[in-house]
């Protein structure tokens, strides 16, 4: 008991730091780092319905195995902006948003920006401006939208729409019209039904109508397009970083003309699109702010994140040392039944990636009812991971203490634990100081992995800022300087720790 009490006293500053870490956990939790998952996977999974048809996403008639459409190209461009490849995920159009967070990172499929969608999902800046176009057979008596206001020869007009689309909303909103709204799962089906006279007309986005004009020669556009809106890319509400990254990437495509070129290629009136999109999206001006402004804006954020990096390091490493030491002592001097468990602990933690361990702590523990705040999980994960390495170092250190030291301590009447505490461990600590110090520096850098479980530290903050501002090189230099400014005091700290151990042992080991 005495030994345990002294142990606690010996390391109080580390417990204090750990406590500070726990207290600081609350405000940080809740920020998602899903962008990292996308990057780690190397793929941006975007969901769309290929049955929805062109020009958005459809099967190339010339090469039936290939998917084409302006949104296919847009997805590829966005993914490239994020530094990953695009992967298509098929889904039924009106249920595509339900794939978010499960089978898809984003939905890019002509989803109109509506207040409802903005409430339920994260909506990107508009990437396409559309208007609604009424389509009917050339020989139809319907010659304008207004002609639907009076009942036709066969009763109310039957107008086909894509289920869940803005066209459907618009049709149902227009109570002044004598129409029965017929929902379809795909616009091509809908147009087929118009051609076959099953329904009288169809309301759809103008680009769809235009795209299908050649294929449905019997149909024509009725009146001018009306009730326009814009398309948005949907992302899950709890993936703000991904949403921001997509939004920013889109902004760049709009600003630098690549989106216009895309729309021109698809005969979608790129110039006009840009006019509408810039208007609707409040695209940031193409000019860049001065470097001084950038740094003035970014520095406080970077500094705060640097503080997180320090906190993660100084809170987790002492814990790693304590756990590692306990494991090493247990493996060498503990009861025989305990040793295989400790060996298993070490092998498990050394043999699996830190990122996986962090995932397990943060995402799996809540499933068994133990929800740790992100920062606590991060500190614990780092501490456990490094404790495995530290325990091996300490094991070697303890073995390197001559056997006569243990005998001399025992011969003086000390218990095994007193001998360990006062004679063996203090000597082992000195022996292992160099490798442990280098592990501290390694852990300092490994803290960046914690962004995987939503803890935003310096590297993470840098990549977010660099992506959003495009000032990749300038911010990299600032970030590197910050790392240097931190590692220097940290190395002073570890030297101070070393000196303090020396001093303490000279003065008084207890």
């Amino acid at each position: 008991m005495t030994a345990a009490r002294r142990e606690g006293k010996w390391c109080w500053p580390w417990w204090l730091l750990a406590a500070v870490g726990l207290l600081a956990a609350v405000p940080v939790a809740g920020l998602a780092a899903e962008l990292d998952e996308v990057r780690a996977r190397g793929e941006l999974v975007w969901a769309a319905d290929q049955e929805g048809g062109g020009p958005h996403v459809y099967v190339d008639p010339e090469h039936p195995t290939r998917l084409t459409g302006f949104e296919v190209e847009l997805a590829a461009m966005l993914a490239a902006e994020l530094g990953v490849k695009a992967r298509f995920q098929q889904g039924q159009w009106d249920r595509l948003p339900l794939l978010l967070g499960r089978a898809a990172d984003c939905v890019i499929n002509g989803f109109e920006l509506t207040p409802e969608r903005e409430r339920d999902w994260h909506c990107s800046r508009p990437y396409f401006a559309y208007a609604l176009q009424l389509v009917a057979r050339r020989d139809s008596p319907v010659d304008s939208l207004e002609s639907l206001a009076t009942v036709g020869p066969a009763g109310v007009w039957r107008v086909g729409v894509l289920t869940g689309s803005a066209a459907e909303t618009e049709m149902r909103r227009r109570t002044d019209l004598q129409v029965e709204v017929v929902g379809f799962d795909g616009t091509v089906d809908c147009l087929e039904q118009v051609r076959g006279r099953v329904i009288d007309a169809a309301l759809m986005d103008d680009c769809i109508a235009t795209f299908n004009a050649d294929r449905f020669g019997e149909l024509r556009g009725i009146g001018r397009p009306f009730a326009g809106g814009t398309y948005t890319i949907l992302t899950a509400p709890d993936t703000p970083l991904l949403s921001t990254a997509i939004d920013n990437a889109l902004g760049r495509l709009i600003t630098d003309g690549r989106l216009k070129a895309l729309y021109d290629r698809w005969d979608l009136a790129g110039r006009q699109q840009m006019l509408l999109l810039r208007d609707a999206a409040e695209v940031p001006p193409a000019r860049r702010g001065s470097l001084a402004d950038l740094i003035r804006g970014a520095l406080p954020l970077l500094l705060r994140s640097a503080g997180m990096t320090i906190l993660l390091s100084v809170a987790s490493f002492p814990l790693a040392i304590l756990i590692g030491l306990a494991v090493a002592v247990g493996r060498l001097h503990g009861p025989a039944w305990l040793r295989p468990f400790l060996a298993g602990y070490v092998e498990l933690l050394r043999g699996t990636p830190l990122m996986l361990q962090l995932y397990a702590l943060f995402f799996l523990l809540p499933k068994v009812g133990l929800a740790l705040p992100a920062l606590v999980a991060a500190i614990l994960g780092l501490a456990m991971n490094y404790s495995a390495y530290e325990s091996e170092i300490y094991r070697a250190g303890l073995k390197a203490v001559p056997a006569g030291q243990f005998e001399a301590a025992l011969a003086l009447g000390m218990t095994k634990w007193q001998s360990l505490r006062h004679v063996l461990v203090p000597q082992a600590v000195r022996i292992v100081m160099p490798p442990v110090t280098s592990d501290f520096i390694a852990l300092f850098k490994d803290t960046s992995v914690c962004s995987a479980i939503t803890v935003i530290e310096l590297t993470k903050r840098y990549s977010v800022l660099a992506l959003s501002t495009g000032r990749i090189a300038e911010l990299a230099i600032v970030t590197a300087l910050l790392y240097l400014a931190m590692s220097w005091p940290l190395s002073l700290l570890s030297r101070w720790f070393e000196r303090r151990l020396e001093r303490r042992s000279e003065r008084d080991p207890g």
Partner: protein, 232 residues
């Protein structure tokens, strides 16, 4: 003070000690002599439980050790009353001389630090090293280190002191410093068992000499009797 009865120790099938029986009276000095490999050190280490034995029993300073594994608690009690000085000194290198001396009294006996230090300084004075109280072992000569080791052992106020070839690692000059300290202790009535090759010391200080050959007590008796005619 010490009784050993029919003690046998077996290591890898060899009987290192066999039917060893001896008695050490309180306030006397017994030296264990004999050829290398005769079992002297093993016997000494059996006396404070650093090694186990297969047959027989030991009583020492009122504690009894029997054959087989010892309970840690029992050993701790024995060792509080039985000090040991090693051939290789085994000072704690991370502690100063005075801390080496005061560590065990403080943590084992719970002596308050100030009092432990006062007594420790007295003991260092007794072995002629009070000037070196704050020196690290590495800065001391072998003879000085062994004297600190003796002071460290005495700090627990043992009823019996065991010396395992205390001067074998030392040159003659330093051996003399250490032996003077041990002889002084003997005069003070400290019960001691000393493993040594130094017959001069045995003649000078020993009440009883036990000669171990091949794990058995070859001869035992007063120093003058056993060592008569022997060299050294």
């Amino acid at each position: 003070m010490i009784e050993v009865d029919s003690l046998a120790a077996i290591r890898s099938g060899n009987r290192i000690l066999d039917a060893v029986t001896l008695t050490v009276a309180e306030g006397t000095v017994t030296t264990l002599v004999g050829p290398s490999g005769g079992g002297k050190s093993t016997l000494l280490r059996c006396l404070n439980g650093l090694e186990t034995f297969a047959e027989g029993w030991v009583t020492i300073a009122g504690h009894k050790l029997v054959a087989g594994e010892h309970l840690p608690r029992a050993l701790e009690r024995v060792r509080r009353d039985v000090g040991m000085v090693f051939q290789g000194f085994n000072l704690f290198p991370h502690l100063s001389a005075i801390d080496n001396v005061t560590l065990a009294p403080r943590i084992v006996r719970g002596v308050p630090p100030a009092e432990a230090r006062r007594r420790g300084l007295d003991l260092l004075e007794r072995v002629g090293l009070s000037r070196f109280a704050d020196a690290r072992p590495a800065t001391l000569s072998g003879g000085q280190q062994q004297r600190v080791a003796i002071a460290r052992s005495l700090a627990m106020e043992p009823r019996v002191m065991l010396f395992d070839e205390p001067t074998s690692a030392l040159d003659p000059q330093m051996s003399a410093e250490v032996l003077d300290v041990i002889v002084e202790l003997a005069r003070g009535g400290q019960t001691m068992v000393v493993v040594t090759h130094d017959h001069g010391f045995a003649r000078r200080a020993a009440t009883q000499v036990v000669e171990l050959v091949a794990g058995r007590v070859h001869r035992a008796g007063p120093a003058a009797e056993i060592l008569a005619g022997a060299g050294g």
